[in-house]
């Protein structure tokens, strides 16, 4: 492991600065190599699928790690989007301070350790976005995708080599068990940033057990506050889109906090307009009945603060925006919170009082992602408060150096001027 860490550091030093043509080349080269090796990647992925099935994993989990043509097409689009975003990066800002010309130069963060328990496409994302900003990356994926990652490693290395970048900028850590991971988390001397993408236990562990700065892609316990001034049909449309377009995403909706007087009509609109199967959890006293597509279940106390990770929506009555804000503060994870209201003062109160990475007003919670918000490709959505909050785009994977062009200016002469 020491050798890998040293190699990674030397790659950061050897790599060209952000903005160099090699990074654009890498986007193209990675896309081409993925296409060329796709058959072998899918074959390796079949091994992972077989192994996880033998362990009795549900089909939803099997689907989650599957590499299909759909993933290839998506990765192709991602490489194109990243190339496009690279072309749009603003030049380093410069300002003048008296006789000084001060430039903020973009620098890579350094060596990034990404720990993830998710889809193998994340391995490619992890190899792409940090690298194009000059970072070296250590990728620690789950054992469920070990064979797929072994197939991806030479593909990524070849793409790096062909684009003129150090071929060891990316390491897919094979045979990295928990004890090795623990050791890595103590190596603040060799690793600059942790990027965990996984369950609450993993993120909590990274935050508490390591002194290496964390950009955490935490889960989303997300709410939609529906004020009685909103049209029930619009509330239903926003809620269903926020959940059913990707029920397990981190920016999906879990709980609708609805003004009590509007709840019956909102529940009715949801039941009537849902075009796909889903479950609505609502207090029994409202007497909501479902239909062929919508299963209605009683809302339990433990449902607040949950990520259902399926097609379930909770609908809870509130007395007004104040109670909604209080519940969001108690149960929310600071990821995505939304309000639907025709009354501008309610929107104003909500946006002032609720603190989350992104607040959506009168729209779907699923709008919270980098490309949709016009911020370019993202590697995660951060719920942390430092370095980056919300979409973690390319510039969030960099730091800066201040370059002071002084032209011979001395501090003493400046002090003299001030006197």
């Amino acid at each position: 492991m020491d050798e890998i860490l040293e190699l990674s550091r030397s790659c950061v030093t050897a790599a060209p600065p952000p903005g160099a043509a090699e990074y654009l080349n890498f986007c193209t080269s990675l896309r081409e190599h993925l296409h060329a090796a796709w058959e072998s990647i899918v074959d390796a992925n079949a091994e992972d699928l077989r192994a996880i099935r033998e362990k009795g994993a549900p089909e939803t989990l099997v689907d989650r790690i599957r590499m299909s043509d759909e993933q290839l097409a998506w990765l192709g689009r991602l490489t194109a989007d990243v190339a496009d975003a690279l072309g749009r990066l603003a030049p380093d800002p410069v300002h003048e301070a008296g006789p000084l010309r001060v430039r903020r130069a973009t620098r890579p963060l350094g060596v990034v350790l990404m720990i993830y328990e998710a889809r193998p496409a994340v391995s490619v994302e992890g190899a792409l976005l940090p690298v194009v900003m000059g970072n070296a990356v250590l990728l620690k994926g789950g054992t469920e995708i070990a064979a797929t990652n072994r197939a991806l490693a030479p593909v990524i290395r070849a793409a790096l080599r062909d684009s003129g970048l150090p071929e060891h900028m990316v390491h897919l850590l094979d045979n990295c068990g928990r004890s090795e991971l623990r050791t890595l988390l103590t190596r603040g001397d060799a690793i600059d940033v942790l990027l965990p993408r996984g369950g609450p236990s993993l993120i909590d562990f990274c935050r508490t057990a390591s002194r290496i700065p964390v950009i955490a892609s935490g889960g989303g316990v997300n709410h939609l506050y529906a004020h009685h001034s909103a049209d029930p049909g619009e509330v239903a449309a926003i809620a269903l889109d926020s959940k059913l377009s990707e029920p397990t995403a981190c920016n999906t909706l879990e709980t609708i906090l609805c003004d009590e007087r509007a709840l019956p009509s909102v529940a009715d609109a949801i039941v009537k307009t849902a075009g796909e199967p889903c479950t609505l959890k609502v207090p029994e006293q409202f007497g909501v009945t479902g239909n062929d597509l919508v299963t209605v279940l009683p809302l339990a106390d433990v449902d607040l603060g949950r990520e259902f990770l399926d097609r379930t929506l909770a609908l809870r009555p509130v007395s007004g925006v104040e109670e909604a804000v209080a519940l969001i503060r108690e149960h929310g994870s600071g990821h995505t919170e939304a309000v639907v209201a025709a009354d501008p003062s309610v929107v104003q109160t909500f946006c002032r009082e609720v603190d989350a990475a992104t607040l959506v007003v009168n729209g779907s919670l699923r709008l919270h992602d980098g490309p949709t918000m016009g911020l370019g490709p993202e590697i995660a959505i951060s719920t942390g408060r430092l370095q980056v909050r919300g979409p973690v785009g390319l510039t969030a994977l960099t730091t800066t150096s201040w370059v002071v062009e002084a032209g011979g200016t001395l501090r003493a002469s400046l002090d003299e001027e001030l006197r």
């Binding site: 989990l61 720990i115 328990e117 236990s201 316990v221 994870s333």
Partner: protein, 89 residues
């Protein structure tokens, strides 16, 4: 620490970790042993096992082997409790 950890205490620790992973705020004592790991209440899949095992190791002060879940099927809370118990006994 584990030498003195009785069966009930071990189950409580495992349940606390499972509840945290599912973002549930409830008393571990109210979590049934036969509660499905991925059902109406808990939402725990193997994708969360890495973090949970690290957390369990921390809380219990032990090192669990990497192959702890190999050859086992985990469907209920008790499946995890038994797997961990077999390693700390």
């Amino acid at each position: 620490m584990t030498n003195t950890l009785d069966e009930a205490a071990l189950a409580v620790v495992v349940k606390q970790v499972l509840l945290a992973e599912s973002r549930l705020r409830m008393d571990p004592a109210d979590l049934r042993d036969d509660e499905p790991l991925n059902g109406g209440l808990l939402r725990v899949t193997s994708m969360g096992f890495l973090g949970m095992l690290i957390k369990l190791e921390d809380v219990l002060g032990i090192e669990l082997p990497d192959d702890i879940f190999v050859g086992r099927t985990f469907t209920t809370v008790d499946d995890v409790v038994q797997a961990v118990r077999g390693r700390v006994a």
